[in-house]
Subunit: 340 residues, 3 copies
C-alpha cells in the first residue's frame, strides 16, 4: 500500500520539504532505507546515517532538516509520527473469522461471529470473545474470561480463568494470566495453600509481553489499567494495581498487593516489594529495588554499575572496612580535641 | 455450599462469638464482604476495615475480637484457619475423568481411569498418570514421566521427559520441567553440548509457579522436596536440591548443583550461585545474591533500596572516592602522630 | 550401545590405563557409577569420590590418574571428551519423519520429507522446515520462518513469525522467539505502539533455553551468532546482536539494540542496558549490571554478596553516613592545617 508524501504530510500534519508525488510503501532505518522506504531521525547518534541516507523520505524535526539529503517530512515528534505511519503501512493481516475445526469451545462460551478462533485453541465455560478478537493457535482461554473487541491473544498464551481483557489489547505468546498467586499459610512447619479466588481485570489498549505472568487476585482482583505496557518475563503478583499508561520493562517484578500510579515508567529488572504504593509519574531506574512507598513523582534509582573486577573488588574491600575508618576518624577527632 | 458458623467453629477449633446459625458460603476481604461472606483479620494495617466490616463473620485472634462489629470466629492463627475454610468453600471443580478425544496418548503410557486428560494433551512413552490427576489442555508430558495421585498439571505446562511428580502437586501454566540444564564444554573457542541425562524428582504437595523452569539433572537428579513452594518465573538449575517445605518467591534463580535446606524462605529476585549449600531455616531477603555456603540459620540480606536519583548519585560518588578518603585519614594520622 | 575402552581411547585420543576390552554403555557420577558406566574427574572437590569410585572407567588428566582405582582414559580435557563420548552413548531418539495427523501445516509451507512434525504443531504460511528437523508437540511456527537442517524446536515453544533458525540448533520448551519488541512512542500521556517489523536471525549450533524470549527487530533484525548459548528465562530485546560462541546464563536481560561480542560469558541475572556495545571476550559476573560500553576484554563485576542481615544493616548505615564522615575528615584537615 503505497502512500505519497503529499498525502502523508496532509494526514499527519507534517511540513513537506520535497516532491509530494514521491511514494513510500515501507519503512527502514536510515542506513538501510532505499527507494520507496520512509525513515526517521530522532536519535542524534545517527546523524552520520542521516547525512548519507538513501531513504525516499525522512521524518525529522525542523532543526535537523538541514542535514537531510532527501525529501523530508518535518514534524515536532518524528518518532511518534513514524509509529502512526508505520501502523498504516503494515496493517495486521485480516482475520479469518470463525472457529477452526481443531479448536475446542465450550457450549456455554459466547464467540462473536467476527472473531477468529485458531487451531488447537481452548475456550472454557462461560467465556465471551468479542468482535474482531483474534485467538491465536495453542491459546488456552479458561472459564469465565472475557476478551474485548479487537484484542489479540497470541500463540500459546494462557488465560487460566476469570481474566477480563479490555478492547484492543495484545497478549503476547507464552504469557500466563490468572494463575494462582503465591498465597501460603504456615502450619507446624508446612505450607497450607491459601485458595486464590480473585480475578484479573485488564483495561483497554494494554500490551502484555511474552512469558509475562499476572496472577489472579487472592480475594479482590488484580488490576491493570488502560494503556499499560508490560514487557516480557515480568511478574505481577496477586492484587497488584497498575495505573493507566504505566510501562514496565522486561523482567521487572511487582510483589503482591503493590500499587503503582499512572504514567510511571519502571525500567528492566526492577523490583517492588509487596504492599507498597508508588504515586503517579514515578520513573524507576534499571534493576532498582523499591522497598517503601514513593509519594513524590521523580526519578528513583539504586545499585552500582559493573566495572573491572579488580577495581570493584577494591571498592568492596574499602566498603567493608568502613567501620574501621569511622573509628580511626573518631580517634583523630579525640586527639584533635586535645590539641585544640 | 453454605456452612454454619457453629459447624465451622466445631470443625476448626474456633471460639464462636455470635449466632451459630449464621451461614457463610464464600469469603471476601473485610472491606468487601457482605451477607454470607466470611472474612479474616491478620494484618493490623486493616484495623479500620475490621471496625467497619459488614462480613457475616470474621476470623481473628482473641486480642482483636473487641474491634469486631459482627460475629467472630476466634482462633490463634486466623490466616491459617481462613485458608482451610476457604479450601472447603471453594473446592476445585470435579474432574471429567477419561481421555479427551483430541489428546495424544502413547500406547505404552499408563493412565489411571480416575485421571482427566484434557484436550490437546500429549502423553509420552512409558509415562504413568495416577488416580485423580488432572492434565489440563495443551500440556505436554513427555516420555518416562510419572504424575502422582491428585496432582494437577495446568494448561500449556511442559514436562519434557523423566520428570517424577509426587502426589497432590500443582504445576502451573507455562512451567517447563525437565529441560536440559546448561552444560557446555569448551573446545577451541566453541561450546560443545554436554548431554543432560538426569531426571527431575518432585516430592508430594509441591507447587510450581507459572513459567518457572526446573532443569533435569546432568547425571544425578534435580530434587525438589515435599511441600516446596516455587513461585512464578523461577530458574532451578540442574542438580539443584531443595529441602522440604522451603519456599522461593518469584524470579529467584538457583544455579546448578546448589543445595537449599528445609524450611528456608527465599524472597523474590534473589540469586544463589552454583555448587553452594544453604542450611535449614535460612531466610534470604529480596534480590539478595548468595555467593557462599550458609551454615547458620538466620536472615541474610544484601543490596540497597532505591531512592531519589539525585541522592543516590551523591552516595555513589562518595563511595567511589572512598579510596581518597582512606588516604586523607592516613595522612591525618601521620600528622597526628607527629603532634603527639 | 556398548563401547570398549580400547575403541574409545583410539577414537578420542586418550591414553588408556587398564584393560582395553572393558566396555561402557552409560555414564554416571564418580559416586554412583558402577559396572558398564564411565565417569569423569574434572573438579578437585570430588577427589575423595574418585579414590572410591566403582566406575568401569574414569576420564581424567595424567596428573590425576594416580588417584584412580579403576581403568583410566587419560586426556588433557576430561570434561570435553566426556561430553563427546556421552553424546555417542546417548544419541537422540530417531525421528519419526512425516507430519502428524493432528498438525496444522499451511499449504504454502515447505516441509522436508526428512523432518518430523509432531502432534498439535502449527506451521504458518511460507515457512520452510529442513531435513532432519524435529518440531515437537504443541510448537507454533508462524509465517515466514525457516528451520535449518537437524534443528530441534521443543514442546510448546513459539516462533511467532519471521524467525530464521540455522542448522543443528535446539530451541527449548516455552521459548518465545520473534515476539514484538517493546517499542512505544508517547503521545499526550499515552503510549502508541511502534510497529515491529524486523526478523530474528539465529545462526548454526545455537541453543536457546526454556521460556527464554528473543524479540524480533523493530526495523533491522535481531541477530544471534553461530554457537551462541542462551540459558533459561533470558530476555533479548529487539535489535540485539550477540556474537558467535557467546554464552548467557539464566535470567539475564539484554535491552534493545545492545551489541555483545564473540566468546563472551555473561553470568546469571546480569543485565545490559540498551544501545551499548560489549567487545569480544568479556566475562560479566553474576547479577552485574552493565551501563556503558565495554571496549576491553576482561572480567567485569558489580554488586555485593548477601550476609547476615544485622551485619549488612550496619554496613548500609555507615554507607548512608559517608557524607558526614567526609565532612568530619575535612574538619580535621582544617584543624590539622592550623596545627602545622
Amino acid at each position: 500500500m503505497a502512500r505519497s508524501l503529499g498525502e502523508l504530510a496532509a494526514q499527519f500534519g507534517c511540513e513537506l520539504v520535497g516532491d509530494p508525488a514521491v511514494t513510500v510503501s515501507g519503512v527502514a532505518t536510515l542506513g538501510n532505507a532505499g527507494d520507496g522506504q520512509l525513515s526517521f531521525f530522532s536519535n542524534r547518534a545517527y546523524r552520520k546515517q542521516l547525512r548519507e541516507t538513501c531513504a525516499a523520505a525522512v521524518l525529522l524535526t525542523a532543526e535537523d532538516s538541514k542535514d537531510c539529503p532527501v525529501p523530508a517530512l518535518v514534524v515536532d515528534d518524528p518518532y511518534l509520527v513514524y509509529a502512526l505511519i508505520a501502523a498504516e503501512l503494515y496493517p495486521p493481516p485480516p482475520l479469518q473469522v470463525g472457529v477452526h475445526v481443531s479448536a475446542n469451545v465450550s457450549p456455554t462460551a459466547s464467540i462473536s461471529p467476527g472473531a477468529e478462533i485458531s487451531a488447537h485453541v481452548i475456550v472454557g465455560d462461560d467465556t465471551v470473545i468479542g468482535n474482531g478478537a483474534y485467538i491465536a493457535p495453542g491459546v488456552v482461554v479458561g472459564p469465565r474470561c472475557s476478551i474485548g473487541e479487537h484484542s489479540h491473544i497470541l500463540a500459546n498464551a494462557t488465560l487460566v480463568q476469570d481474566v477480563i481483557v479490555g478492547r484492543r489489547c495484545i497478549i503476547h505468546s507464552g504469557a500466563v494470566i490468572g494463575a494462582d498467586g503465591f498465597g501460603n499459610a504456615k502450619s507446624r512447619g508446612r505450607w497450607i495453600k491459601v485458595p486464590q479466588i480473585g480475578r484479573v481485570l485488564i483495561g483497554d489498549d494494554v500490551e502484555v509481553g511474552a512469558n509475562t505472568c499476572i496472577d489472579r487476585g487472592s480475594l479482590d482482583d488484580t488490576v491493570i489499567g488502560d494503556g499499560v505496557r508490560l514487557d516480557n518475563l515480568i511478574q505481577i503478583g496477586h492484587n497488584v494495581n497498575i495505573g493507566a499508561h504505566t510501562a514496565l520493562a522486561a523482567q521487572c517484578g511487582v510483589a503482591g498487593s503493590a500499587t503503582i500510579g499512572q504514567r510511571c515508567m519502571i525500567a528492566g529488572q526492577a523490583g517492588l516489594v509487596g504492599h507498597i504504593s508508588i504515586c503517579d509519574d514515578v520513573v524507576v531506574g534499571g534493576a532498582t529495588k523499591i522497598w517503601k512507598d514513593i509519594t513524590e513523582p521523580g526519578f528513583y534509582t539504586g545499585g552500582f554499575p559493573g566495572e573491572k573486577d579488580s577495581e570493584w573488588k577494591k571498592k568492596v574491600a574499602r566498603f567493608r572496612r568502613l567501620g574501621d575508618l569511622v573509628k580511626r576518624v573518631a580517634t583523630l577527632e579525640k586527639r584533635a580535641g586535645k590539641n585544640l
